[in-house]
């Protein structure tokens, strides 16, 4: 038995070393890729500045809040920490990672919407592909929410298995990325899409709400000021979603509880203009710039930033 175990181990060691090398090489290439999947996390580890304002939320944060405009109008230094396809649970994991490498922000602009409290499980796993070997702590945190197998966590290269096409897409992707923001200069894609009410339901998951409230309490204890923002959604969502009032009530209660201001852009005239959106949920680059300009002026006017 000892001889068998010893020889098996000796046989496996070279394979393990090769897999480790392949994993490291591929991870490095993905980290360096200019992709909307890899950049949002990778850039977070690269930037070393300290920032006054952090923008948090899902893809509706990452493609709609332009830090360049905020910085110019508010004379500050902001960074967009939006995370595509993720609800508050994953957004906060990203925020925690951010805090491990940077100082605490003075202000947080939190993009809230119908999908923020919808627990994310297992989707968009490609977004954290390369970071497993890079950051074991991140792996541990993400493990709570993503369905990674033991093999994927501990056997090098195994998490890439079966994802060749996706990895190739990541490697050839090219986005214009600026401080966590990437504007999408795309045409309107939802012209012929029928309204699906299930997509526009508001999840009020009690665990997610509790997680969110804990986050707010923790930030307020560190004197970080939080602002809630409803970024524009296309008007048909507002008209047809069965849960708009439920959403307003939920965030309204949280805002009241923690004395947080809310800016609502869902009633803006721009919500009627499909030339400013690429789909019902997301503004295109032009729309994003217009919205960020308005937001910056409004932030200035309500005196959210302490001068």
């Amino acid at each position: 038995m000892k001889k068998y175990l010893l020889y098996t181990m000796l046989f496996i060691i070279p394979i393990w070393i090769v897999l480790l090398g392949a994993d490291d090489s591929l991870s490095h290439r993905i980290r360096c890729a200019n992709s909307s999947f890899s950049q949002p996390l990778y850039d977070m580890y690269n930037v070393t500045d300290s920032f006054d304002i952090l923008i948090c939320g899902n893809s509706r944060a990452s493609v709609q809040y332009n830090p360049f405009i905020l910085d110019s109008i508010l004379e500050c230094n902001s960074y967009n920490l939006g995370y595509d396809g993720c609800a508050v649970n994953i957004q906060l994991v990203k925020y925690e990672q951010w805090c491990k490498h940077h100082s605490n922000p003075k202000y947080i602009i939190y993009n809230i919407d119908l999908w923020t409290m919808n627990e994310t499980r297992g989707n968009n796993r490609e977004q954290i592909f390369p970071y497993f070997t890079m950051d074991r702590n991140l792996m541990k945190n993400m493990d709570i929410y993503h369905d990674y197998t033991i093999a994927e966590k501990f056997i090098p290269f195994s998490r890439y298995i079966g994802h060749k096409n996706m990895i190739e897409d990541i490697l050839v992707d090219s986005i214009s990325f600026y401080k966590g923001y990437y504007g999408c200069d795309w045409e309107w894609q939802h012209a012929n899409v029928r309204h699906n009410q299930d997509l526009y339901k508001c999840a009020c998951d009690s665990n997610m709400i509790e997680l969110f409230c804990n986050f707010i309490e923790k930030q307020q204890s560190k004197n970080t000021k939080i602002l809630f923002v409803y970024a524009p959604m296309f008007h048909t969502i507002l008209q047809n979603s069965p849960d708009i009032q439920k959403m307003y009530d939920m965030y309204g209660n949280i805002a009241n509880q923690y004395n947080i201001s809310i800016l609502d852009y869902n009633t803006e005239i721009m919500c009627q203009d499909s030339t400013l959106f690429y789909n019902k949920m997301h503004l295109n680059q032009t729309g994003a710039e217009l919205f960020t300009t308005k937001l910056a002026h409004n932030i200035d006017s309500i005196g959210f930033l302490k001068k």
């Binding site: 038995m1 001889k3 068998y4 020889y7 098996t8 046989f11 070279p14 394979i15 090769v18 897999l19 290269f157 890439y160 298995i161 079966g162 994802h163 060749k164 096409n165």
Partner: protein, 428 residues
């Protein structure tokens, strides 16, 4: 005994066949079938362990084994994990005693088990899963494919199902060896068979022998008892005709049952009937037991088997013909229904049969061709051994090199294949 068979087959029948018969019944009488259906989820491997349980009961009834009082050994026999979901369907006479006696670790057996697992992984992941990519893509849109593409899909499915099922069997048998358990052989290079009778002695051996021992022989097999009324006439020709008729009937029964065992679908029944029909000429000409040895081998006076490098022209022709017949059988097996089967067969015999088939991409095609070639070559060289990597007669360094190449090939194939293809026989 009867109660035992009714309970075992009853469970299998309700889970696997009830909805099928209810649908056929409703269709026959033109009534709505929805309210009749149970929509039960088929438990994985139910056909395998039901047959294994039946073999124990029948063997005890026949007094071939003593009933066991060792509940641990019995449950281990029924649920031994490597072969639980897709066989080999073990006999109590072989497996049960192995759980009852003390086992000691044997280095050579364990190493051989590892080799067999590696060969099984190669067959499954490199050959079968790569074939599946092409076959699934082609069959997703069968009507727009050329005849040559459909024929290539049929040939590749032939390798897919062999790689998939025999690969699983190798992994199961190899894993069992690590625990000191010897499972029965399930495949013995079936595509090197010289006729369809030999093919069935080499394909899914555990199921074929199960049907032979528990259905075919009890029904009279090929040597039935001659009824007294015929015997009294003293007509030898009549007795011979009667014997032949019973053998034919029994052959059809086991092939139809074997087809139906695979699933509640007419295509499986048709597949069984197709093979029974191929068997008929051999049975009528008394040639069904012609080839009991392995192709291109010579048995020396001392009993050792010497292999030849190449088969004779006649043997090569026989193997090619048997392989072609098997390919058409697999078309019936793979078709999801009679309409798909019809579209597939008529699609092949189209004027486009002689056009260049659609190929996914050059690198995929080359890799697949090489992997199939390696499969054929390795199995040909080792056709008298238990598995492709058994008892190698090359230096340790060469062995190690081969193992590393296979491991690398398996890993790269896993990376390239977009989805893990589940074992085909898990559905049965």
């Amino acid at each position: 005994m009867i109660a035992n068979i009714i309970v075992n087959l009853g469970i299998l029948g309700i889970y696997k066949y009830y909805d099928f018969f209810a649908t056929q019944f409703a269709r026959l009488f033109g009534i709505e079938s929805d309210f009749l259906l149970l929509h039960l989820i088929l438990p994985v491997g139910i056909s395998f362990y039901t047959f294994q349980a039946l073999s124990y009961s029948i063997d005890v009834y026949r007094k071939q084994i003593q009933p066991t009082h060792d509940i641990v050994a019995f449950t281990a026999f029924l649920s031994f994990f490597p072969q639980l979901v897709a066989g080999p369907i073990e006999r109590a006479t072989n497996l049960l005693p192995q759980f009852q006696k003390k086992r000691t670790f044997d280095y050579a057996t364990a190493v051989d088990g590892m080799r067999q697992i590696l060969w099984g992984l190669f067959k499954k992941i490199v050959v079968a899963d790569n074939c599946a990519t092409y076959v699934d893509t082609v069959l997703a849109d069968i009507s727009s494919q050329s005849g040559s593409t459909l024929l290539l899909a049929a040939v590749l499915f032939t390798f897919q199902i062999y790689g998939d099922f025999s690969g699983y069997s190798d992994i199961a048998i190899g894993t069992a060896k690590l625990f000191g358990i010897k499972l029965m052989r399930n495949f013995n290079v079936p595509y090197f068979s010289r006729d369809i009778a030999e093919f069935w002695r080499r394909w899914h051996i555990s199921l074929t022998t199960w049907f032979r021992d528990y259905v075919y022989i009890p029904l009279g097999g090929s040597r039935p008892n001659i009824p007294e009324t015929i015997r009294q006439k003293g007509d030898k020709a009549l007795e011979a005709r009667y014997t032949k008729w019973i053998a034919l009937r029994n052959t059809f029964v086991i092939f139809l049952l074997s087809g139906f065992w695979h699933g509640a679908n007419w295509t499986f029944v048709l597949w069984g009937a197709y093979h029974a029909l191929l068997f008929v000429p051999l049975l009528l000409l008394n040639k069904n037991r012609r080839y009991r040895d392995t192709v291109a081998t010579i048995t020396l006076p001392d009993g050792t088997i010497k292999t030849k490098w190449l088969p004779s022209l006649k043997e090569a022709g026989q193997m090619l013909l048997t392989f072609t017949l098997a390919v058409f059988g697999w078309i019936i097996f793979r078709a999801t229904g009679l309409k798909t089967l019809s579209a597939w067969v008529t699609g092949i015999f189209d004027s486009s049969l002689f056009s260049i088939p659609w190929l996914m991409n050059r690198s995929y095609y080359i890799t697949l061709a090489i992997s199939i070639l390696v499969l054929i070559l390795v199995e040909w060289i080792n056709r008298t051994r238990e598995h492709g990597l058994a008892a190698p007669k090359v230096s340790k360094l060469s062995q190690l090199l081969v193992y590393y190449i296979l491991v690398t090939w398996v890993i790269i194939s896993m990376y390239i294949n977009q989805k893990a293809v589940t074992f085909i026989y898990f559905q049965f």
